[in-house]
């Protein structure tokens, strides 16, 4: 009976009663005053112009752009075992803090480290300096010490599906679950995932599981291919190469269809996170944007929405790839594995622009927590930059700039990727045209998303 009454009260609270007038103006309100329409048109035209420039420039220019140069070669000690062990120790300490520390997610080091450092900042760092997750993941060191190399083969035909499904579960946890930042709940979740990964790695071996099963190893490895710096172990030595961002996308190995689905899921996740807060989406699911009921009130539609966003994006992508193949005259070589990788700059751009304000606000909470842990005076957190015109304008410019640059890089990479196979600018333009149109459209969508009024 109590549960029934509770349910009734909850239902009534969500549907019928007003929140006080507290949904005050913030960066979303100030953005409505900015000339975001001009940015949208200008940014979209810039990306469209890149398509035309790529179509008209000599093939050798495109390939020259992504040429890499060896910066250094020699030998380096294998530090990843030590750094991974350190990563495991830090993770254990963070989980401990999650269980026994403060329950405030903006003061407990576990949620701040997981969500602000690891999920928001680390991908950006990896896109600059290479795959840091390969160094600090908590499993490699322990598995190496235990000499656990796996005793079951991870079936080839399932491709990246384990990583894709795990990433989908992670996306649901981040975007839909009721309290992903709750320190204790997060400690349980992280512990369970760490143990699950450890068992899977013992079964299949770390090499195979991190290649196609551990979704964050896959994610960070993909994102790191955008770094201008490449440090690779080859023939017993280490080679450091430098090149234009994305050169590793062009010169690395292609991926499978399931790998493409993984990359598209990563982009769909961050896109849907933005979309799910906008007035149009809230209207679509019947929620008053000025009276957001909380996560519990939108769990079901947002679960469907997340999968729907992935399905729509993947359908559009594969349709463009198929249409491009149909338009090609000289070659019908499959290119899904190459073209999916060219989505990565867009994914990174969405990540950077979508999480910028989270980084700016929660980064301060992380700093304050670290100051507290070492006995320093805390720096008071401020969010004034979300309420002042000039700061919001700067934030908007950074966000929209990231979206445009990401799409321009994606266009150039897609063109160069096709050129690498067809060797003909005309053929590359024809085969890449449908995907280029999709990318131009996604630029407009991304800029619209950033400017749209939000109610959640």
């Amino acid at each position: 009976m109590g549960a029934f009454l509770r349910g009734c009260a909850l239902f009534v609270s969500i549907l019928a009663f007003p929140a006080p007038a507290l949904a005050h103006a913030s960066d979303s309100g100030i953005k409505l005053l900015l000339p975001t329409g001009y940015y949208l048109v200008g940014g979209t035209l810039a990306v469209a112009a890149t398509v035309l420039i790529a179509a008209s420039m000599p093939a050798r220019w495109a390939t020259a752009l992504f040429r890499s140069h060896t910066l250094w070669s020699g030998t380096l000690p294998r530090i990843e075992i030590v750094t991974s062990l350190l990563g495991a120790v830090v993770l254990a300490a963070l989980i401990y803090a999650g269980f026994i520390g403060t329950h405030d997610p903006l003061e407990n080091p576990l949620p701040l480290t997981v969500w602000t450092f690891w999920w928001v900042a680390l991908p950006l760092l990896c896109a600059v300096s290479g795959n840091l997750w390969a160094l600090i993941n908590p499993w490699l060191g322990i598995l190496t010490l235990l000499d656990a190399k796996g005793f079951l083969p991870l079936p080839k035909h399932i491709g990246y599906m384990p990583a894709t499904l795990l990433f989908l579960a992670f996306a649901w946890f981040e975007l839909v679950s009721l309290s992903p930042e709750d320190p204790e709940g997060l400690a349980w979740t992280v512990s369970a995932y760490a143990l699950f990964t450890f068992i899977a790695a013992v079964l299949f071996g770390w090499e195979a599981w991190s290649e196609r099963g551990e979704c964050f190893s896959v994610f960070f490895r993909f994102i790191s291919r955008l770094a201008p710096l490449q440090i690779s172990r080859e023939n017993g030595g280490v080679i450091v190469r430098i090149g234009f961002p994305g050169f590793q996308v062009l010169h690395g190995t292609a991926i499978t269809v399931s790998g493409a689905l993984f990359i598209l899921l990563a982009l769909a996740t961050v896109s849907f996170d933005g979309l799910s807060k906008t007035f149009p989406w809230l209207g679509l699911i019947g929620v008053n944007p000025l009276q957001f009921p909380g996560r519990s009130g939108v769990a079901l539609p947002n679960t469907f929405g997340l999968v729907w966003a992935w399905a729509v994006l993947a359908s559009a992508f594969f349709a463009c790839v198929i249409a491009g193949r149909w338009l090609g005259r000289e070659s019908d070589a499959p290119m899904v594995g190459r073209l999916a990788l060219t989505i990565l700059p867009i994914s990174l751009a969405y990540h950077a622009s979508h999480y910028l304000t989270v980084l700016l606000v929660n980064g301060q909470y992380l700093r304050a927590t670290m100051q507290r842990m070492v006995g320093l005076d805390e720096t008071q957190v401020t969010t004034s930059f979300l309420n002042t015109h000039e700061d919001v304008e700067r934030i908007w410019q950074a966000q929209s700039g990231a979206i445009v640059i990401g799409h321009i890089l994606a266009i150039l990479l897609a063109h160069a990727s096709i050129l690498a196979i067809t060797q003909s600018t005309g053929e590359a333009t024809r085969r890449g045209a449908p995907l280029a149109i999709l990318m131009v459209g996604y630029t407009a969508f991304g800029l619209w998303l950033l400017a749209a009024p939000t109610g959640a």
């Binding site: 100030i30 944007p289 000025l290 909380g294 109610g455």
Partner: protein
């Protein structure tokens, strides 16, 4: 009670006055350092106060300031001897600004953290979702929500709102001054859902009692982000335009209103809620110069600033413009957050009056607070004196009207507490525990 309440005092009954005197003594003694120390306490174990706070979700901007205010109040209480000689411990849990999560948090306070009471949250839907669980678990739940749901009778004996007035009081108390000083022919512009409807209904009724009337009610669909097409609906004979727009469209609304009216405009009256934490000097808000706002507690310290307000600002870390001392652009949610400070002090007074020792005394705590009548203006109540109605579990307080002058909100009127009063809609004291 403060001289500002001289008129009010004549209307108070004997019980109120006696209660007020007793409370004055109680709240005063607890705030004097050295009078009670932890050494005198039978138990020095901290009193655990579960702090249900909007750390994430749409209420996070308010949660940040509720958190700062709560920490400052807790520090003051602990520095001055705690409660009954015991320190207090704030156990913060994020409710995600979600009713289901709010109920979970209440359960954690009661069963996992073994809190003595729960306190804090703001958004109405979280309070409404959490209060039934607090009632089932018999956990006193002190909310700082300003919603009318407490006094309307829809909650329970364990839920109280003694530290902040509700929206019904706020709205109706504006009518006398608006009618006398701005005009009697009012057009209301409000978002077309329950929140806006409450304003429409409470204010329409209140202005009619003042001999005025609402000549036009313009309801704006919640998803609207441009308002030009609604502005021509404002009748020409309008003397006062009452606006309660909320959400991201507020700034656009002000800008378009400025473009529509130019120099010829009616008097404009609004609620500060939509511009809480926003610098009034922000570009686009110039049109608000000369307009009036309701404020629960004036953001800008005026020449009449009390010692209590000065003390409160310093303790929370807020300057005379209502902004953070560490960042003058970081404007606080000044009109609301005092409720946390005052509620914690009421908890202290209530626990001391009930000689609270542990969870078995929770009922005694509720009864002690229900028996309170007056919270005198003091360091514990810097916003001003309050009357508390134990039957409806709701406080009533002075409200403020400020005028935008030179990019600042200058207080021009302080209502009587009785302007906020309305007939009881419930008697929680008749409900069993």
């Amino acid at each position: 009670m403060a001289s500002a309440d001289g008129n009010d005092m004549t209307k108070l009954d004997r019980r109120t006055v006696l209660g007020g005197a007793a409370l004055l003594a109680a709240s005063g003694s607890g705030l004097l350092p050295g009078l009670s120390g932890y050494a005198q306490a039978q138990s020095s174990a901290p009193i655990k106060i579960g702090f249900q706070v909007h750390r994430t979700g749409i209420g996070a901007a308010y949660g940040r300031w509720y958190d700062r205010t709560t920490k400052a109040a807790a520090k003051l209480i602990n520095d001055t001897g705690g409660i009954n000689g015991r320190p207090i411990e704030i156990v913060a849990e994020d409710d995600g600004t979600d009713p289901k999560r709010g109920a979970e948090v209440i359960e954690k306070f009661a069963t996992k953290h073994e809190c003595d009471v729960a306190f804090g949250t703001l958004f109405s839907h979280v309070v409404i979702g959490s209060a039934p669980r607090a009632g089932e678990l018999k956990l006193p739940y002190f909310v700082v929500s300003e919603g009318h749901h407490v006094a309307s009778g829809m909650l329970n004996r364990y839920t109280l709102q003694p530290g902040i007035t509700d929206v019904k009081s706020q709205v109706q108390s504006m009518a006398p001054w608006v009618a006398d000083n701005l005009g009697k022919k009012v057009t209301m512009i409000y978002p077309d859902f329950a929140f806006g409807h409450d304003h429409r209904d409470y204010f329409s009724e209140a202005i009619e009692r003042q001999g005025g009337n609402v000549i036009s009610k313009i309801a704006i669909p919640p998803r609207e982000t441009s308002f030009f097409k609604y502005l021509p609906k404002i009748p020409k004979e309008t003397e006062v335009l009452y606006h309660v727009m909320v959400g991201p469209g507020v700034l656009t609304f002000v800008k378009e209103m400025g473009e529509y009216f130019g120099d010829k405009r009616p008097e404009i009256f609004g609620f500060i809620d939509s511009l809480e934490a926003v610098d009034i000097t922000s570009p686009g808000l110039e049109f608000l110069e000369g307009s009036h706002f309701w404020e629960g507690y004036p953001r800008y310290a005026g020449p009449d600033q009390t010692e209590h307000d000065k003390f409160y600002r310093a303790a929370v870390g807020v300057d005379n413009n209502g902004a953070s001392l560490s960042d003058p652009k970081d404007v606080s949610t000044y009109a609301h957050m005092f409720g946390c400070w005052e509620t914690l002090h009421i908890l202290k007074a209530g626990m001391e009056a009930a000689d609270y020792k542990g969870p078995k005394d929770r009922q005694a705590l509720i009864e002690a607070v229900e028996n309170m009548d007056v919270f005198p203006e003091s360091r514990a109540h810097p916003q001003g004196s309050k009357l508390f109605n134990g039957r409806t579990h709701q406080a009533f307080a002075h409200q403020h009207i400020s005028k935008v002058e030179g990019g600042k909100l200058v207080p021009v009127h302080k209502t009587s507490i009785f302007d906020t009063y309305y007939e009881d809609e419930v008697d929680y004291t008749k409900m069993s525990f």
